[in-house]
Symmetry: C2
Subunit: 167 residues, 2 copies
């Protein structure tokens, strides 16, 4: 899939079929995330792949989007390693670049994914559930699976609102 | 260009030929940025396209990467609109997704670009130079042009370091 087409046709996918995501597909999604740019090339991203039904249910219990995580073939919890960080704003931006690569890769592989951020309200409990020290700061959970439907609509502001000036 | 190929072959391009980036190319890069995901779909990104030599020189004077901005056909200053923001971490992540879309689009168009973050040290002066109120928080400047060379090497950590666990 062409990169521009991927950027424009990617949607947040929240409903999945029961078809499984393969380990190779998960590896490709993680690899794509790892090729994001980061300040000083510090690569602060760390991943936990949550595939078992038990652990997915535990995670699901920590967000109001429970249904999405339960219905996905795999959930990928994405963390920022505090020991690798150098600047909050820039590291969080880099994490966003990483997450976007993962979403685009999922879409390019014919899968669907959604970026779940609300679960950050209970990030401490996520670390406990995944037995991770506080060194790892939860950034988002991606739910990934085979889309139950496609071509969902989405809207963006017009360029006249986004482009402040040209000089 | 395939989306995965774009993700893996994108590099930070800091040396440019004198060939110009067209207004249509700039529009495509901005449009790609605007299709990033954002929390609550708040789309906090705002753009200033800096093409004139005078303004580029002014911007260039505010970073130690002066040469890169002076040598680029166009600089795109990317801001976060504080009035659209709802959560610093999530908005900065969304801005990173937007910037990554812009870098990938540049690469997909056969152009080269680099994400400049060091200029944030002088963000207040950037706002003054571009006559923008403090409502707009500088996130990064992208320098964009035609690459003087390609296939630059880059490295990433191995998956054994990035994948903390599978469960």
């Amino acid at each position: 899939m062409d990169v521009l087409e991927a950027i424009y046709t990617r949607r947040s996918v929240r409903d999945f079929t029961c078809e499984l995501v393969t380990p190779e597909q998960v590896q490709e999604i993680l690899r794509a995330g790892s090729w994001a740019p980061s300040g000083l090339n510090n690569q602060p991203w760390r991943f936990v792949v949550v595939r078992s039904e038990g652990k997915r249910r535990e995670l699901a219990g920590l967000t109001k989007y429970r249904r999405i995580i339960e219905g996905a073939s795999v959930a990928i919890a994405v963390f920022c390693d505090r020991e690798a960080m150098y600047n909050d704003t820039k590291d969080h931006q880099g994490m966003g670049a990483c997450l976007q690569n993962m979403l685009l890769a999922s879409h390019g592989l014919g899968l669907g994914a959604v970026w779940l951020g609300e679960i950050l309200n209970r990030s401490a409990e996520v670390n406990v559930a995944l037995e991770l020290p506080t060194r790892y700061e939860l950034m988002a959970v991606l739910a990934v699976g085979h889309p139950a439907s496609r071509n969902q609509r989405s809207k963006r502001k017009g360029m006249e609102e986004l482009l402040l000036k040209e000089c």
